[in-house]
Protein backbone atom coordinates (compact mmCIF):
# COMPACT_ATOMS: atom_id res chain seq x y z
CA UNK A 1 0.00 0.00 0.00
CA UNK A 2 1.20 3.53 -0.65
CA UNK A 3 0.47 6.58 1.44
CA UNK A 4 -2.63 8.56 0.47
CA UNK A 5 -1.98 11.75 -1.42
CA UNK A 6 -1.12 14.75 0.71
CA UNK A 7 -0.29 12.81 3.82
CA UNK A 8 2.75 14.03 5.73
CA UNK A 9 3.32 11.10 8.03
CA UNK A 10 1.93 7.70 7.31
CA UNK A 11 2.34 4.26 8.81
CA UNK A 12 0.95 0.79 8.29
CA UNK A 13 1.24 -2.64 9.82
CA UNK A 14 3.32 -1.44 12.73
CA UNK A 15 4.39 -4.14 15.10
CA UNK A 16 6.47 -3.63 18.21
CA UNK A 17 7.09 -5.89 21.17
CA UNK A 18 8.78 -5.12 24.48
CA UNK A 19 9.88 -8.52 25.61
CA UNK A 20 6.81 -10.72 25.72
CA UNK A 21 4.45 -7.74 25.68
CA UNK A 22 3.07 -6.84 22.28
CA UNK A 23 2.71 -3.06 22.37
CA UNK A 24 1.71 -2.61 18.71
CA UNK A 25 0.11 -5.27 16.63
CA UNK A 26 -0.72 -3.98 13.17
CA UNK A 27 -1.32 -0.32 13.92
CA UNK A 28 -1.89 2.22 11.15
CA UNK A 29 -1.68 5.96 11.02
CA UNK A 30 -1.88 8.90 8.69
CA UNK A 31 -1.76 12.66 9.13
CA UNK A 32 -1.87 15.68 6.81
CA UNK A 33 -0.03 18.94 7.26
CA UNK A 34 -1.92 21.22 9.59
CA UNK A 35 -4.03 18.40 10.92
CA UNK A 36 -4.46 17.61 14.61
CA UNK A 37 -4.99 13.91 15.22
CA UNK A 38 -5.80 12.57 18.64
CA UNK A 39 -4.54 9.10 19.52
CA UNK A 40 -6.79 7.69 22.19
CA UNK A 41 -7.15 4.44 24.02
CA UNK A 42 -6.94 2.91 27.46
CA UNK A 43 -3.65 2.89 29.30
CA UNK A 44 -1.31 0.21 28.10
CA UNK A 45 -3.03 0.03 24.74
CA UNK A 46 0.13 1.08 22.92
CA UNK A 47 -0.66 4.68 22.10
CA UNK A 48 2.60 6.02 23.49
CA UNK A 49 4.51 3.34 21.64
CA UNK A 50 2.73 4.37 18.44
CA UNK A 51 3.85 7.95 19.04
CA UNK A 52 7.42 6.87 19.74
CA UNK A 53 7.47 4.85 16.52
CA UNK A 54 6.01 7.67 14.45
CA UNK A 55 8.53 10.12 15.91
CA UNK A 56 11.45 7.83 15.13
CA UNK A 57 12.37 7.45 18.79
CA UNK A 58 11.71 3.74 18.63
CA UNK A 59 12.11 1.53 15.59
CA UNK A 60 9.19 -0.82 15.04
CA UNK A 61 9.85 -4.54 14.72
CA UNK A 62 7.84 -4.60 11.50
CA UNK A 63 5.85 -2.22 9.33
CA UNK A 64 6.45 0.93 7.34
CA UNK A 65 6.59 4.56 8.40
CA UNK A 66 6.81 7.21 5.67
CA UNK A 67 7.60 10.82 6.43
CA UNK A 68 7.67 13.35 3.62
CA UNK A 69 8.38 10.68 1.05
CA UNK A 70 11.16 9.04 3.06
CA UNK A 71 10.99 5.79 4.91
CA UNK A 72 11.59 6.57 8.56
CA UNK A 73 12.13 2.98 9.61
CA UNK A 74 15.06 2.69 7.20
CA UNK A 75 16.97 5.69 8.55
CA UNK A 76 19.96 5.45 10.84
CA UNK A 77 19.77 6.57 14.43
CA UNK A 78 21.76 9.70 13.63
CA UNK A 79 19.43 10.59 10.74
CA UNK A 80 16.38 10.10 12.88
CA UNK A 81 17.92 12.20 15.66
CA UNK A 82 18.62 14.97 13.18
CA UNK A 83 15.05 14.74 11.92
CA UNK A 84 13.72 14.99 15.46
CA UNK A 85 15.90 18.02 16.10
CA UNK A 86 14.90 19.92 13.02
CA UNK A 87 11.44 18.81 11.86
CA UNK A 88 9.70 17.39 14.90
CA UNK A 89 8.68 18.96 18.16
CA UNK A 90 7.90 17.21 21.42
CA UNK A 91 5.81 17.85 24.51
CA UNK A 92 5.62 15.26 27.25
CA UNK A 93 3.60 14.92 30.40
CA UNK A 94 6.39 16.01 32.74
CA UNK A 95 10.08 15.69 33.47
CA UNK A 96 11.17 17.18 30.21
CA UNK A 97 12.58 20.55 31.21
CA UNK A 98 16.21 20.54 32.27
CA UNK A 99 16.02 21.69 35.89
CA UNK A 100 19.37 23.46 35.83
CA UNK A 101 18.63 25.63 32.83
CA UNK A 102 16.48 28.75 32.98
CA UNK A 103 13.17 28.68 31.11
CA UNK A 104 14.48 30.63 28.18
CA UNK A 105 17.52 28.38 27.97
CA UNK A 106 15.24 25.39 27.98
CA UNK A 107 13.20 26.78 25.12
CA UNK A 108 16.34 27.69 23.20
CA UNK A 109 17.84 24.25 23.68
CA UNK A 110 16.55 22.61 20.46
CA UNK A 111 17.86 25.53 18.40
CA UNK A 112 21.21 25.30 20.14
CA UNK A 113 21.29 21.59 19.41
CA UNK A 114 20.78 22.53 15.78
CA UNK A 115 23.81 24.73 15.93
CA UNK A 116 22.29 28.18 16.38
CA UNK A 117 24.24 30.68 18.42
CA UNK A 118 23.14 31.25 21.96
CA UNK A 119 21.95 34.81 21.31
CA UNK A 120 20.00 33.91 18.22
CA UNK A 121 18.43 30.90 19.87
CA UNK A 122 17.36 32.79 22.95
CA UNK A 123 15.88 35.61 20.88
CA UNK A 124 13.73 33.15 18.94
CA UNK A 125 12.88 31.38 22.19
CA UNK A 126 11.63 34.60 23.71
CA UNK A 127 9.30 35.23 20.78
CA UNK A 128 7.67 31.88 21.34
CA UNK A 129 7.53 32.42 25.07
CA UNK A 130 5.70 35.66 24.47
CA UNK A 131 3.25 33.84 22.28
CA UNK A 132 2.62 31.29 24.98
CA UNK A 133 2.40 34.06 27.57
CA UNK A 134 5.32 32.84 29.64
CA UNK A 135 7.95 35.40 28.64
CA UNK A 136 8.07 36.83 32.14
CA UNK A 137 9.44 33.49 33.35
CA UNK A 138 12.53 33.63 31.18
CA UNK A 139 15.03 33.92 34.05
CA UNK A 140 13.30 31.41 36.27
CA UNK A 141 14.24 27.77 36.56
CA UNK A 142 11.66 25.05 35.98
CA UNK A 143 11.57 24.27 39.68
CA UNK A 144 10.30 27.77 40.36
CA UNK A 145 7.30 27.84 38.02
CA UNK A 146 3.87 26.19 38.24
CA UNK A 147 2.93 23.04 36.36
CA UNK A 148 0.82 24.92 33.82
CA UNK A 149 3.54 27.48 33.22
CA UNK A 150 6.13 24.75 32.90
CA UNK A 151 4.01 22.95 30.35
CA UNK A 152 3.60 26.12 28.33
CA UNK A 153 7.36 26.56 28.42
CA UNK A 154 7.60 23.01 27.12
CA UNK A 155 5.12 23.84 24.32
CA UNK A 156 7.17 26.90 23.44
CA UNK A 157 10.22 24.69 23.28
CA UNK A 158 8.49 22.17 21.04
CA UNK A 159 7.55 24.92 18.59
CA UNK A 160 10.75 26.91 18.58
CA UNK A 161 12.24 25.01 15.65
CA UNK A 162 9.08 25.51 13.56
CA UNK A 163 8.53 21.77 13.39
CA UNK A 164 6.39 20.17 10.72
CA UNK A 165 5.07 17.59 13.14
CA UNK A 166 4.43 18.16 16.80
CA UNK A 167 4.23 15.11 19.03
CA UNK A 168 2.40 15.66 22.29
CA UNK A 169 2.20 12.78 24.75
CA UNK A 170 -0.42 13.52 27.40
CA UNK A 171 0.58 17.18 27.40
CA UNK A 172 -2.09 18.04 29.96
CA UNK A 173 -1.77 14.89 32.01
CA UNK A 174 -0.40 16.66 35.04
CA UNK A 175 -2.59 19.76 34.81
CA UNK A 176 -6.03 20.74 36.04
CA UNK A 177 -8.89 21.34 33.55
CA UNK A 178 -8.43 25.05 33.17
CA UNK A 179 -4.64 24.92 32.76
CA UNK A 180 -4.97 21.90 30.53
CA UNK A 181 -7.40 23.66 28.23
CA UNK A 182 -5.26 26.75 28.07
CA UNK A 183 -2.25 24.67 27.09
CA UNK A 184 -4.33 22.85 24.46
CA UNK A 185 -5.67 26.09 23.00
CA UNK A 186 -2.22 27.61 22.75
CA UNK A 187 -0.75 24.45 21.36
CA UNK A 188 -3.36 23.89 18.65
CA UNK A 189 -3.52 27.58 17.73
CA UNK A 190 0.24 27.75 17.40
CA UNK A 191 0.39 24.53 15.40
CA UNK A 192 -2.39 25.60 13.04
CA UNK A 193 -0.81 28.98 12.47
CA UNK A 194 2.42 27.31 11.38
CA UNK A 195 0.63 24.54 9.47
CA UNK A 196 2.29 21.92 11.67
CA UNK A 197 0.66 18.54 12.08
CA UNK A 198 -0.01 17.51 15.67
CA UNK A 199 -0.01 13.94 16.93
CA UNK A 200 -1.76 14.19 20.25
CA UNK A 201 -1.75 11.20 22.57
CA UNK A 202 -4.33 11.53 25.28
CA UNK A 203 -6.88 9.54 27.19
CA UNK A 204 -9.00 12.56 27.94
CA UNK A 205 -11.94 13.19 25.64
CA UNK A 206 -12.00 16.90 26.31
CA UNK A 207 -8.37 17.14 25.26
CA UNK A 208 -9.03 15.01 22.21
CA UNK A 209 -11.86 17.40 21.33
CA UNK A 210 -9.18 19.88 20.26
CA UNK A 211 -8.28 17.55 17.43
CA UNK A 212 -9.65 17.31 13.93
CA UNK A 213 -9.85 13.58 13.98
CA UNK A 214 -9.08 10.77 16.35
CA UNK A 215 -7.83 7.25 16.16
CA UNK A 216 -8.30 4.71 18.88
CA UNK A 217 -5.62 2.23 19.83
CA UNK A 218 -6.85 -0.90 21.47
CA UNK A 219 -4.64 -3.95 22.16
CA UNK A 220 -2.01 -2.60 19.84
CA UNK A 221 -4.39 -2.12 16.92
CA UNK A 222 -5.42 1.29 15.73
CA UNK A 223 -8.79 2.32 14.39
CA UNK A 224 -9.28 5.40 12.36
CA UNK A 225 -12.70 6.57 13.53
CA UNK A 226 -13.35 8.72 10.47
CA UNK A 227 -13.09 5.81 8.12
CA UNK A 228 -14.97 3.43 10.39
CA UNK A 229 -18.13 5.49 10.18
Amino acid sequence: MTPPAGSLLWAEQLRKAYGPTLALDGAEFSIHPGEVVAVMGPSGSGKSTLLHCLAGIVTPDAGTIMYGGRELSAMSDAERSALRRSEFGFVFQFGQLVPELTCVENVALPLRLNGSSRKEAERAALTWMERLEVDELRKKRPGEVSGGQGQRVAVARSLVTNPRVLFADEPTGALDSLNGERVMELLTDAARSTDAAVVLVTHEARVAAYSDREIVVRDGRSRDMERAV
Binding site: A205, A209, V216, M225
Partner: protein
Protein backbone atom coordinates in the same frame (compact mmCIF):
# COMPACT_ATOMS: atom_id res chain seq x y z
CA UNK B 1 -35.04 3.26 22.42
CA UNK B 2 -36.55 1.34 19.57
CA UNK B 3 -38.69 -1.63 20.67
CA UNK B 4 -39.18 -2.62 17.03
CA UNK B 5 -35.43 -3.00 16.39
CA UNK B 6 -34.97 -4.81 19.66
CA UNK B 7 -37.69 -7.37 18.90
CA UNK B 8 -36.32 -7.79 15.39
CA UNK B 9 -32.92 -8.43 16.83
CA UNK B 10 -34.30 -11.03 19.20
CA UNK B 11 -35.85 -12.84 16.21
CA UNK B 12 -32.46 -13.15 14.55
CA UNK B 13 -31.64 -16.19 16.65
CA UNK B 14 -34.76 -18.01 15.33
CA UNK B 15 -38.54 -17.76 14.91
CA UNK B 16 -40.51 -17.10 18.09
CA UNK B 17 -44.04 -16.76 19.34
CA UNK B 18 -45.20 -13.37 20.51
CA UNK B 19 -45.14 -14.41 24.18
CA UNK B 20 -41.67 -15.79 23.76
CA UNK B 21 -40.56 -12.44 22.43
CA UNK B 22 -42.09 -10.58 25.37
CA UNK B 23 -40.47 -12.93 27.85
CA UNK B 24 -37.06 -12.64 26.18
CA UNK B 25 -37.32 -8.84 26.00
CA UNK B 26 -38.31 -8.56 29.66
CA UNK B 27 -35.51 -10.83 30.69
CA UNK B 28 -32.75 -8.98 28.85
CA UNK B 29 -33.92 -5.37 28.67
CA UNK B 30 -37.16 -4.91 30.67
CA UNK B 31 -35.59 -4.68 34.08
CA UNK B 32 -38.27 -3.31 36.33
CA UNK B 33 -40.64 -2.28 33.50
CA UNK B 34 -41.97 -5.34 31.68
CA UNK B 35 -43.33 -4.90 28.18
CA UNK B 36 -47.10 -4.92 27.81
CA UNK B 37 -48.18 -7.67 25.46
CA UNK B 38 -50.27 -5.18 23.50
CA UNK B 39 -47.11 -3.32 22.64
CA UNK B 40 -45.58 -6.48 21.27
CA UNK B 41 -48.68 -7.20 19.23
CA UNK B 42 -48.88 -3.75 17.65
CA UNK B 43 -45.13 -3.63 17.02
CA UNK B 44 -45.17 -7.01 15.35
CA UNK B 45 -48.08 -5.96 13.19
CA UNK B 46 -46.14 -2.91 12.02
CA UNK B 47 -43.07 -4.99 11.29
CA UNK B 48 -45.24 -7.53 9.42
CA UNK B 49 -46.74 -4.74 7.40
CA UNK B 50 -43.28 -3.35 6.52
CA UNK B 51 -42.10 -6.77 5.43
CA UNK B 52 -39.43 -7.03 8.10
CA UNK B 53 -40.96 -10.19 9.59
CA UNK B 54 -43.19 -12.93 8.25
CA UNK B 55 -45.55 -15.30 10.01
CA UNK B 56 -43.68 -18.52 10.11
CA UNK B 57 -46.60 -20.69 11.20
CA UNK B 58 -49.79 -20.80 13.19
CA UNK B 59 -50.33 -23.41 15.85
CA UNK B 60 -53.55 -25.32 16.18
CA UNK B 61 -56.21 -23.29 17.90
CA UNK B 62 -56.93 -19.70 17.31
CA UNK B 63 -55.86 -16.21 18.44
CA UNK B 64 -52.97 -14.03 17.60
CA UNK B 65 -50.91 -15.45 20.39
CA UNK B 66 -50.45 -18.60 18.42
CA UNK B 67 -48.55 -16.87 15.61
CA UNK B 68 -44.88 -17.64 15.19
CA UNK B 69 -42.77 -14.83 13.68
CA UNK B 70 -39.57 -15.05 11.64
CA UNK B 71 -37.23 -12.25 10.55
CA UNK B 72 -36.78 -11.48 6.87
CA UNK B 73 -33.59 -10.40 5.09
CA UNK B 74 -34.95 -6.89 5.06
CA UNK B 75 -35.41 -7.18 8.79
CA UNK B 76 -31.80 -8.23 9.35
CA UNK B 77 -30.58 -5.30 7.26
CA UNK B 78 -32.75 -2.99 9.27
CA UNK B 79 -31.26 -4.19 12.56
CA UNK B 80 -27.78 -3.82 11.10
CA UNK B 81 -28.46 -0.28 9.99
CA UNK B 82 -29.88 0.62 13.40
CA UNK B 83 -26.86 -0.72 15.26
CA UNK B 84 -24.45 1.05 12.98
CA UNK B 85 -26.13 4.42 13.31
CA UNK B 86 -24.85 6.38 16.27
CA UNK B 87 -27.40 7.96 18.52
CA UNK B 88 -27.55 11.67 18.64
CA UNK B 89 -25.27 12.56 21.55
CA UNK B 90 -27.72 13.55 24.23
CA UNK B 91 -27.85 13.02 27.92
CA UNK B 92 -29.38 9.83 29.29
CA UNK B 93 -28.60 7.69 26.30
CA UNK B 94 -27.43 4.75 28.24
CA UNK B 95 -30.57 2.60 28.07
CA UNK B 96 -30.66 2.74 24.30
CA UNK B 97 -26.93 2.22 24.02
CA UNK B 98 -27.11 -0.61 26.48
CA UNK B 99 -29.86 -2.29 24.47
CA UNK B 100 -27.80 -1.89 21.33
CA UNK B 101 -24.72 -3.39 22.88
CA UNK B 102 -26.57 -6.36 24.35
CA UNK B 103 -28.43 -6.98 21.12
CA UNK B 104 -25.19 -6.87 19.19
CA UNK B 105 -23.75 -9.40 21.57
CA UNK B 106 -26.84 -11.58 21.32
CA UNK B 107 -26.76 -11.53 17.56
CA UNK B 108 -23.01 -12.13 17.49
CA UNK B 109 -22.30 -8.81 15.95
CA UNK B 110 -19.26 -6.67 16.94
CA UNK B 111 -20.46 -4.75 19.99
CA UNK B 112 -17.19 -2.79 20.07
CA UNK B 113 -18.18 -1.33 16.72
CA UNK B 114 -21.37 -0.03 18.21
CA UNK B 115 -19.45 1.62 20.99
CA UNK B 116 -16.75 3.04 18.75
CA UNK B 117 -19.30 4.49 16.37
CA UNK B 118 -21.04 6.14 19.23
CA UNK B 119 -17.81 7.40 20.68
CA UNK B 120 -16.87 8.96 17.40
CA UNK B 121 -20.20 10.71 17.26
CA UNK B 122 -19.76 11.99 20.78
CA UNK B 123 -16.33 13.30 20.01
CA UNK B 124 -17.67 15.04 16.91
CA UNK B 125 -20.15 16.87 19.09
CA UNK B 126 -17.45 17.68 21.57
CA UNK B 127 -15.29 19.11 18.81
CA UNK B 128 -18.14 21.36 17.69
CA UNK B 129 -18.72 22.49 21.25
CA UNK B 130 -15.00 23.05 21.82
CA UNK B 131 -14.84 25.09 18.68
CA UNK B 132 -17.84 27.17 19.68
CA UNK B 133 -16.33 27.66 23.09
CA UNK B 134 -13.08 28.95 21.68
CA UNK B 135 -14.84 31.51 19.59
CA UNK B 136 -17.53 32.47 22.07
CA UNK B 137 -17.74 34.66 25.14
CA UNK B 138 -17.73 33.54 28.75
CA UNK B 139 -21.42 32.64 28.73
CA UNK B 140 -20.91 30.46 25.67
CA UNK B 141 -17.92 28.88 27.31
CA UNK B 142 -19.83 28.00 30.46
CA UNK B 143 -22.76 26.53 28.54
CA UNK B 144 -20.49 24.56 26.25
CA UNK B 145 -18.48 23.30 29.19
CA UNK B 146 -21.65 21.94 30.79
CA UNK B 147 -22.46 19.98 27.69
CA UNK B 148 -18.86 18.93 27.25
CA UNK B 149 -18.66 17.51 30.74
CA UNK B 150 -21.85 15.51 30.20
CA UNK B 151 -20.62 14.17 26.91
CA UNK B 152 -17.32 13.34 28.50
CA UNK B 153 -19.14 11.38 31.17
CA UNK B 154 -20.98 9.40 28.45
CA UNK B 155 -17.73 8.84 26.64
CA UNK B 156 -16.15 7.50 29.75
CA UNK B 157 -19.09 5.17 30.16
CA UNK B 158 -18.55 4.02 26.58
CA UNK B 159 -14.91 3.38 27.27
CA UNK B 160 -15.65 1.52 30.44
CA UNK B 161 -18.25 -0.63 28.69
CA UNK B 162 -15.83 -1.32 25.88
CA UNK B 163 -13.35 -2.54 28.44
CA UNK B 164 -15.99 -4.82 29.96
CA UNK B 165 -17.46 -6.27 26.77
CA UNK B 166 -16.14 -9.75 27.39
CA UNK B 167 -17.74 -9.92 30.82
CA UNK B 168 -21.02 -8.59 29.45
CA UNK B 169 -21.03 -11.15 26.65
CA UNK B 170 -20.68 -13.90 29.19
CA UNK B 171 -23.49 -12.49 31.27
CA UNK B 172 -26.05 -12.01 28.45
CA UNK B 173 -25.44 -15.19 26.52
CA UNK B 174 -25.54 -17.35 29.59
Amino acid sequence: MSIGHTLLGLLESGPRHGYDLKRAFDEKFGHDRPLHYGQVYSTMSRLLRNGLVVVDGIEAGSGPERKRYAITDAGITDVQRWLATPEKPEPYLQSTLYTKVVLALLTHRDAADVLDTQRSEHLRSMRILTDRKRKGDLADQLICDHALFHLEADLRWLELTAARLDKLREAVTR
